[in-house]
Subunit: 134 residues, 4 copies
């Protein structure tokens, strides 16, 4: 696995770019993403929209899963919201629950700058037979 190639590949994620998510660390079965909360991320109540946190975590899983060399697609994800915040940076760290199989199982902790967990996320991915295009 070439973590630089993985990062480069995910630069093509236009939606992650729109939301403003950065991939900050990649290892086998692991990824950390970050995002700075801006006015564009807020919901009607003035706190960060759940969809922005979802995408932060979802991208971390996509990268972590694809480090395994096969094209991996998300089939399911769930997120629990613990604390509402309105500014600062947020971080998502994705790790593997079990070693790589046909169906991969990932968990993500989403934290704010003070280290508090603001949301938790879990996801199942499906590994296709296709190799990654690089």
């Amino acid at each position: 696995m070439n973590t630089e190639k993985i990062k480069e590949y995910f630069l093509n994620d236009k939606y992650a770019e729109l939301v403003g998510i950065k991939i900050v660390d990649v290892k086998e079965g692991y990824c950390k993403t970050e995002m700075e909360i801006l006015p564009k991320h807020l919901n009607a109540a003035g706190t960060i929209q759940g969809g922005a946190l979802f995408t932060l975590a979802d991208l971390a899983v996509a990268v972590a899963a694809n480090t395994r060399g096969q094209l991996s697609l998300s089939i399911q994800a769930d997120i629990s919201f613990i604390k509402g915040i309105s500014k600062g940076k947020v971080y998502a760290v994705a790790t593997e629950v079990s070693e790589a199989k046909k169906i991969g199982n990932y968990e993500v902790k989403i934290k704010d700058e003070s280290g508090d967990t603001i949301a938790s996320f879990h996801s199942l991915i499906y590994r296709k037979k296709d190799k990654l295009p690089f």
Copy 2:
């Protein structure tokens, strides 16, 4: 309940605006949202990013839950991805699984223009004691 006021309130959701989601129908415990898939919504594989579909469904639940008159916050949501698409419009319809309580239970079907279900979504919300600010 005044559905026009509800729609107006959710125009303050800056993230939904960024993503390009419209609220097209609101009734008691019900909401339909829509989004036209644009290049900005695509992931690295060229299909619509899960986070965009999540937000489409999440906003539908937020609106449907808040028609009940009390401020409602999402505490949990899960989404399953069924079909990957790259263009056209997508629609999310949120309905109540059970009548309004402290913890509300909503389900959402996300469909494409041909009527195929492309994702399913479920969410729990927590009704606060606060009335909506209007």
Copy 3:
């Protein structure tokens, strides 16, 4: 598909037998199960234990998924508890969210005798290449 064979096959589910679950209706992609709440199903608070409701729904999905002719295994399930009850019959009805694929998507409504939804359940199954053993 032979619904009688399917029912017969699931009579081998020893755990469903222990819990006291009956398969009452089977069609393509559909199953209804029922259970009478007995003292053995109650938790420490005196209401039906979540695990009993989970099993009622899970069996309904297992049967519905296996009507498609290929061996299907549950890979994920989530359940939301809406109303706690202590007696009477409970019913679970499993239906397909989308037509049969490699990954199947099922939803289940769990109701009491009065028709109230007491829990909702969703599950993903994985269809193996193996045919069912009959």
Copy 4:
């Protein structure tokens, strides 16, 4: 908190008794349960039924949540199945994702005797105002 009282209280869970689940360790916000797989736990395919693993994890969360002194009820749970097994002991360890609040967030790892994760589980609980009855 008196962990002995908690264990005693959960001896009243008739369903856990039926399934054969033991509470083996309790601390603040923590519980470990175990079960020996017996023929009564097997599904039609001869592996442990998902409902038995669900109950093992669910009880661990119920105990861990109730160590906080307030009556806690499960409102939602999801489980992912990773490895199918047919014999030996299985263990569930429940821990808190975030410190105690109105809505509690717990995660559970379910492992077999060799230490492999066979399922993962997450649950939300709702803390009522009522104190525990002891």
